[in-house]
């Protein structure tokens, strides 16, 4: 312990902190430039529709089972929790409304995005990282094809478009999961549950969740592409890129969720 104050006095600790801060700032700057280049490539021709379609399938269609399963169990668990917890202050009667609100505004987009972070962001980072390690990205550039247009832009576009659609599916399946538990386990009248949900839920509840989902989709694809594109050091580097893609995606999803929620709920 005696070493700690002297290390601080000698400047070693501030130097480490300073280096960390600079490294973080450099990372944010590089990721921002990368995102700008990716968006510019997505907005200007030439486009590669075949690649976009392939990514829509990879990101969206093949993620449906995992997103659907997550949503149904979350909706079911939410219904149980609200019913049992809400009994304490007679709130169990509003269980359908709270399930709908929780799923559409928060859990649908966040959980769908987290599932995509684990499934898609990691896959993107691994694929692009392996392409970097085996010089395929260099080869692409020498073949007069910009990797930002061929690899990055289609993934950003696909994730941005597909995650809101997946979220919409998650919303429906999540509410259905709540309905299933409420009617089969908690003996709530099915018609009342549906009527309460339908009359309470507003368009903005769903829309705000879909806007969040579009932002999360962009984050998931961006982090996968960014970490894969900058992977270094062969197989180990690709593994590191995959881990970093998932971790940074998840962290940014939570941060963006709070920012967007505070923006949407401002009185």
């Amino acid at each position: 312990m005696a070493g700690a104050p002297s290390a601080f006095r000698s400047g070693a600790v501030p130097a480490i902190i300073g280096r960390g801060v600079f490294a973080a700032a450099r990372g944010v700057g590089r990721a921002s430039l990368f995102a700008t280049r990716g968006v510019a490539a997505a907005l200007t021709p030439p486009w590669f529709p075949g690649q976009i379609l392939r990514q829509v399938l990879a990101v969206g269609f093949f993620s449906l089972p995992v997103v659907g399963l997550t949503a149904v169990f979350t909706g079911a668990a939410l219904a149980l929790n609200i019913f049992s917890g809400g009994e304490r202050f007679n709130a169990d009667q509003v269980m359908p409304q709270i399930v709908a609100l929780g799923i559409t505004r928060e859990l649908g987009p966040v959980l769908a995005a987290l599932m995509l972070a684990g499934r898609v962001s990691a896959a993107i980072a691994a694929e692009i990282g392996a392409m970097r390690a085996t010089e395929q990205i260099d080869a692409m550039r020498t073949l007069s094809t910009d990797p930002f247009r061929y690899l990055i832009a289609p993934r950003l576009t696909a994730a941005l478009v597909v995650l809101p659609l997946l979220t919409l599916v998650a919303d429906i399946i999540g509410i259905a999961g709540g309905w299933l538990v409420a009617t089969r386990v908690l003996a709530v009248d099915p018609t009342i549950y549906i009527r309460n949900t339908a009359t309470f839920i507003q368009g903005w509840d769903v829309e705000s969740g879909l806007i969040k989902a579009a932002v999360f989709g962009f984050i998931v694809a961006l982090m996968g592409c960014y970490h894969g594109y900058h992977a270094q050091g062969g197989a180990r580097g690709v593994g590191r890129a995959t881990t970093n893609a998932v971790v940074t995606s998840a962290m940014l999803i939570f941060a963006a969720d709070y920012l967007l929620t505070s923006l949407f709920t401002r009185p």
């Binding site: 392409m131 073949l143 007069s144 094809t145």
Partner: protein
């Protein structure tokens, strides 16, 4: 009047972490010439070629291809200039997600906007030129042997009849028979296309087979350059040691 060189490295320096990999390197390649750069591992051969391809930017100096600074090209100018360039990468660098013919026709399909039927026909033609049967066209790269992957990489490099070809360690990892076949194909393609070729290798039999001239790089600079036939007769200490494969000599003393 002498023709201006096709490719020039002009006082090029490049450093990563540590000492410079290239140190004010000067080198030029005349049109129609086949130049092979030889040198030990870590002496800057790959960096030299990557700078010429615009995959790295020099810290100092310029690489001029047909008089244009490669590092300063706009996206459009780069696309135009590199439409005349073919590259065979060390590990072939074939795209895993595409079939063999889609790999060969990648430039035609994605940069030159050639239709799929016409691009496939040209890809199969290029595969035939590297002695691969049309049956391999629909296979995935992972279904091919290392030698066949190199041939597909070569077919991809020559499919658009480039004016300039780059070969990065073309025979590395191949058995002597496949290496000899690749060397013969390279010589054949370079001559039939009339292309300028730049190769890097530490395989001396490959260098002798494909070079008009050989340059040796060491310590980030060119330490010898001469006709391929002079490789075994030069009294340059670096070359003598490299050719003989001796541990003692000027190269060892610098390591």
């Amino acid at each position: 009047m002498t023709e201006s060189p096709k490719l020039v490295w002009k006082g090029v320096s490049k450093r990563f972490d540590g000492p410079p990999v290239l140190d004010r390197l000067d080198l030029s390649v005349a049109a129609g010439q086949s130049l092979v750069i030889i040198g030990g591992s870590g002496q800057g051969k790959s960096v030299t070629i990557k700078l010429a391809l615009g995959l790295l930017r020099p810290d100092l100096g310029q690489v001029l291809m047909e008089g244009a600074d490669v590092a300063g090209l706009s996206e459009d100018a780069r696309r135009r200039l590199f439409s005349k360039v073919g590259v065979l990468f060390q590990g072939a660098a074939l795209f895993d997600s595409l079939t063999v013919w889609e790999n060969v026709a990648f430039r035609l399909l994605n940069a030159d906007q050639v239709g799929r039927a016409a691009a496939r026909a040209r890809a199969i033609e290029a595969l035939a030129r590297v002695r691969l049967a049309p049956a391999v066209a629909d296979l995935a790269p992972s279904e091919l042997s290392g030698g066949m992957q190199k041939r597909v990489g070569l077919a991809r490099a020559i499919v658009a009849a480039p004016e300039m070809l780059f070969f990065d360690e073309p025979t590395t990892g191949l058995d002597p028979i496949n290496a000899g076949a690749i060397n013969a194909l390279i010589v054949d393609q370079v001559r039939s296309l009339g292309s300028t070729a730049v190769s890097i290798t530490h395989d001396l039999s490959s260098a002798r087979a494909i070079a008009d001239e050989i340059a040796m790089i060491h310590g980030g600079r060119i330490v010898w350059r001469g006709p391929a036939a002079d490789l075994d007769t030069t009294d340059n200490g670096y070359v003598r040691q490299f050719v003989a494969g001796r541990a003692d000599g000027p190269i060892a003393s610098l390591v």
